[in-house]
Subunit: 373 residues, 2 copies
């Protein structure tokens, strides 16, 4: 087939072409079973083997320590905003670092269950930089500290997770890593729980991954639904309620694709991280050098995954933004529209986006500059 368009959606987002081809090929008959994966009992031998392989490959890719459970859940990041405090807060104190739209929502939702304090807030800088770690107001007796390690809408990323212990805080760190999970390693020594929706780097919407240190489970509030009690889910190996089986299968294929991925002499997660770095550098360099376009995020915390950008100054009109988006689609550069809350454009360049996709976008930026600049 001819080259597929480049899809810059923030999520649900592009998946590796090889994975989609395998999903299509196996749709009516998975490996001689006579069944589609969608048609398998989640308790049967076939699906059990699929789920176990998915978990094993994910654990391997991210080097998840053995004292962390990996849970396949439902509801996405927004549901976890409630599920995490129901499981971890014990109705006590929760400190949240607000670095953009998502962590703001997390703080708001946690208020239903806990005494929430905003430890720091990047609002004054319109979320174009991260609140300096030294400025965070952390409470000694917080049940946990929450942050969003990559803000999908604002394009702000933690390139290093804070060492809470070094800040004199013994509370576990919870990270919402929805939009950059599996794009880089996670320093598990600094994390107690990590969660994320699958629909960015991993697979179809409707699957949520939760990585939780074993000492943090078993403390759910009585009002926590059984289906969302980490202990119940962990003990049933994510089969307490019927899991999103097809999503787990697609994710498993993505994990296999990633393990075999090679780039710049590296393989696996190191390879995809290097390509993500190269893609991001290429795009940010083009925006910084442009007379017409700009990214407004501080250079030390620009996201490798989500790059919001705008037309500069007087060029920033709805008409010209629309002209850009229309021209992009004609060039097979899809879903570049910015989030409705901030407008402009956004290029999400997740794992499945090849370098050629970013090169094509950069070429279009330059052509657009020539035409309108």
């Amino acid at each position: 087939m001819s080259q597929r368009p480049f899809n810059f959606s923030a999520g649900p987002a592009a998946l590796p072409e090889e994975v989609l081809q395998q999903v299509a090929a196996e749709m009516l008959n998975w490996q001689g079973s006579g069944m589609s994966v969608m048609e398998m009992s989640h308790r049967g031998a076939e699906f059990t083997s699929i789920a176990e392989a998915s978990e094993r490959d994910l654990r391997d890719l991210l080097q998840v320590p053995s004292n962390f459970h990996i849970l396949f859940m439902q509801g996405g990041g927004l549901a976890e905003n409630a599920i995490v405090p129901m499981n971890l807060s014990r109705g006590g104190k929760v400190d949240v670092v607000v670095s953009g739209s998502w962590s703001k929502k997390s703080a708001q939702e946690a208020r239903r269950y806990a005494d929430v304090s905003v430890a720091a807030d990047g609002a004054a800088g319109r979320y174009t930089s991260l609140p300096p770690v030294g400025s965070w107001q952390l409470r000694k007796d917080a049940a946990y500290v929450h942050l969003c390690s990559n803000e999908t809408i604002d394009g702000v990323e933690f390139h290093e997770l804070p060492d809470l212990k070094a800040l004199g805080c013994d509370a576990p760190l919870v990270i919402d890593c929805s939009s950059h999970q599996l794009s880089r390693p996670i320093d598990w020594s600094r994390v107690g729980l990590a969660f994320g929706g699958a629909q960015k780097n991993i697979g179809p919407a409707g699957l949520t991954l939760v990585f939780v240190r074993e000492d943090l489970i078993g403390h759910a509030m009585s009002i926590c639904p059984s289906a969302f009690d980490f202990k119940t889910v962990a003990e049933a190996k994510s089969m307490y309620n019927t899991p999103p089986t097809f999503g787990i299968y697609v994710a498993g294929l993505v994990f296999k694709w990633l393990k075999a991925f090679s780039y710049a002499g590296k393989t696996g997660l190191a390879a995809i991280e290097q390509r993500n770095i190269d893609k991001a550098q290429l795009l940010y360099a083009a925006l910084d050098a442009s007379p017409l376009f700009e990214n407004r995020v501080a250079t030390d915390c620009r996201s490798r995954m989500n790059v919001p950008f705008y037309l500069r100054g007087a060029f920033n009109t709805d008409t010209l933004t629309q002209a850009f988006l229309t021209g992009a689609k004609e060039r097979q550069l899809l879903q570049l529209k910015g989030h409705k809350s901030v407008g402009g454009m956004r290029a999400s360049i997740y794992n499945a986006m090849p370098l050629e996709g970013v090169q094509a976008l950069v070429a279009y930026l330059k052509d657009f500059e020539t035409q309108y600049g």
Copy 2:
């Protein structure tokens, strides 16, 4: 391709072959969009059109009145066991009719949020019959009455929903219809809310359907997660959190398949209901006439969807049960093992199961009788 095996899984369950073929064909490029449905933003024009068509066709098939919202949610029936009382109970009283494993779980989970009373319980008869409506102990001030209109494990089905008003009860009726939704019409005049996981008659696991009368939303308890507040979900047209987009797409194809379905001179839901009646009659008649096999459910409430059966008396050994299951698989009759809590066998004969599948099962029953009877 040659004939596919017949898949009797209780869920996730068989899907129409034509639907799987279309899903495979569109996997890399949905209708010229250049994207898989899994890769589309849920807010884009393409997916919006898919979701709107799914809802419209479902509303049409089930003749859902305009004062009912249709919500596409996540978490399955088990999550709804918590979500429904969080939304409807106002912390007050909930009456539950226990007719099997699922309604028992629903009663237990609702106790987290409400004063739950078991209005009737079929336990004494080991859930082989329905507690007579006249015997139900309903409280005048119950916030709602819950029942499971088809018990997947026990194989017991309400062939008529109770008229609570005629019983002097003004509370709305909530039905868990997971395992028979879309197999027959629903009498909406007797229902306030209906919910069900999609993984039986509709599509992949991970999608949950909720039909709720508009006056019943807007009363969620403060501890209800935003993502599961029916009002929030309804106002956002099921897009408050990222919905399980691929599941909505597959469900939409199933709805279209069902609208075009014809059988015995009928079309659509009436046609599938007739075929379901014919399939169930064929299988129950074979079991009732068998010297070797039996179904233990009272004839007036046998499920058209889930048919648990056992070897009779002295024949009922693990060895012979296993021999039956092994022989079934050799004949391409898949996933006939009974639920782990009750053992034996179970044939789930949902909408996608053709008449030929039940005929093949009946032929095997007879051959097995000849060999072992």
